[in-house]
Symmetry: C2
Subunit: 156 residues, 2 copies
């Protein structure tokens, strides 16, 4: 249900959100999110085209979020990468179901709607704020991650 | 989110449920559900292996449900064809997330759990019973369908 493209994109976006505007190269982002760099690079281009991410060139270049984490939802990321498709019309084009879906498709669409609602209601900032004392989200427990998250904890 | 395999399988199962034990060939089932017969036949074999459908050989053979519609849920069909995968462990194998998922994966799993719950709670019988006066579910408005659904209404 959650495709790999969505999973990887969300890992990347959460990781960028945590960096608070500090650019991150595709290579480092791939390391931090445990994703294949070639695949992640393609996904980042999709996110750039969707205006969720900016790409800065140069020595200290890399990817940064295009907006604040509080202004971007899980839904925004999902819609950029692999849009949720609601069932608005009878997939079988049955004329009498044109106005009202049949019970099967109503039920399927209701399930999709619940997911859409959850994703629309959750910003990247929400995810950062919910870490409850644990090191937030999906960073790998590597020295690189520790240096980024906790500047004083590199010796940990 | 709802893949074609799931959509087609559910159409087929609902159609079989409506036939109340009357066998249906793959060809007729494909017509009734507006699905490609070759693809549907493969899905039916999956449903047979999952013991949701029986296949009867012979002149009046075809597919029938293996249990009553009230004893089969949307979830059963989905799990046979394309199982819902809950997120039980940190996909990045971060040791400190072993016991408790990070906020991102908690949120994703919560969305999956809602879908799972809806699908577990809905039997094929529920779908048939919810048609509210409309011709139920996904039959196509063809003479074949009318004859099957409403024996006296073929002239409609």
């Amino acid at each position: 249900m959650i495709t790999q493209a969505v999973e990887y994109s969300l890992r990347a976006m959460v990781t960028l959100a945590k960096r608070e505007g500090q650019p991150c190269t595709a290579q480092l982002l791939a390391e931090l999110t445990d994703t294949p760099v070639a695949y992640l690079s393609k996904l980042m281009q999709v996110l750039v085209r969707a205006e969720l991410v900016n790409s800065r060139r140069g020595v200290n270049g890399g990817f940064i979020l295009a907006k604040k984490p509080a202004a971007m939802t899980i839904f925004d990321v999902v819609q950029a990468v692999e849009p949720i498709k609601r069932i608005r019309q009878c997939p079988l084009k049955i004329s009498e179901h044109a106005g009202v879906l049949c019970p099967l498709h109503r039920r399927l669409d209701a399930a999709i709607a619940m997911v859409e609602h959850t994703f629309r209601e959750t910003t990247l900032a929400d995810l950062l704020n919910e870490s409850e004392g644990r090191r937030p989200l999906c960073d790998r427990s590597s020295p690189i991650t520790l240096r980024i998250d906790e500047p004083g904890a590199a010796e940990d």
